[in-house]
Amino acid sequence: MRPVDTGPAYPVPRTAMQARDRVQSLIESSGILPETSGPPGEDVLSDALLVTSELATNAIRHGGGIVGFSASVSSDGLLLAVADASGDHPVTLVRPPGTFPVGGFGWPLICRLARSVRILPAQPVGKRIEVLVPLDGADSPPVRVPDQR
């Protein structure tokens, strides 16, 4: 494990973009991405950045702001934890078929892309959401293969 972003030298990101930038730098410098640039490398970074953005957005929009942030990369993938000061847990809204409601699908997206998700209480109030996002393409939902002609 190569822990990063723990300690006073790294300020907590205040926006989704800052959180993504932090995670992108971390993954790129970890050496865990395949040498060849091509779709597989792009896909796994894509999922990690998406989950990061969704977690950060939820903490900011529903949790009153990001109060804690840590990210590390290991052979299991990206372990990301975002803490906010709200004790409310995320909920998945049931979407009526054929409709596209405004918002509300960040959380299902996180759950779909992450290999594991944990919600832990934070002290004195609030919660910490820990997710593991694979960086090796395993467990990813299948991507449609273009027709071979």
Binding site: Y10, P11, T15, A16, M17, Q18, R20, D21, R22, Q24, S25, P39, E42, D43, S46, D47, L49, L50, S53, E54, T57, I60, R61, G98, T99, F100, P101, V102, G103, F105, G106, L109, R112, L113, P141, V143, R144
Partner: protein
Amino acid sequence: MDTHHAGTYGADARNSVETRTEGDVRVVVMAGEFDMDGADELRTALDPEADGVARFVLDVSGVTFADSTALSIMLQPALNRPVVLAGEIPSRLGRLLEVTGADRAFAVAPTVAEAVVLIVPPRRR
């Protein structure tokens, strides 16, 4: 402060939205990263209450990142009129559309010119 990357710190977002009208088609060119911040321009451009707009064409070829907040904004006008994604869809955006199933909400065309005239069948419910 972070020193990992060069970027416009202090700006709300790294994106641009350009809008133009071609008859009753509103063409919106999106470039950069779209998330909860700096989304006002996109919301205005994709206002589902826009008058005189029979179709939205979104040039998404320059989108380098979009999350579900951005996608929500893109989906709103799709409720009541065709929204056509134009240009080569970047892989990250394609991934988001596929994983969320939102790819079914949009028509696609290789270019803006084709998107403007594309015949879009009415959505079946």
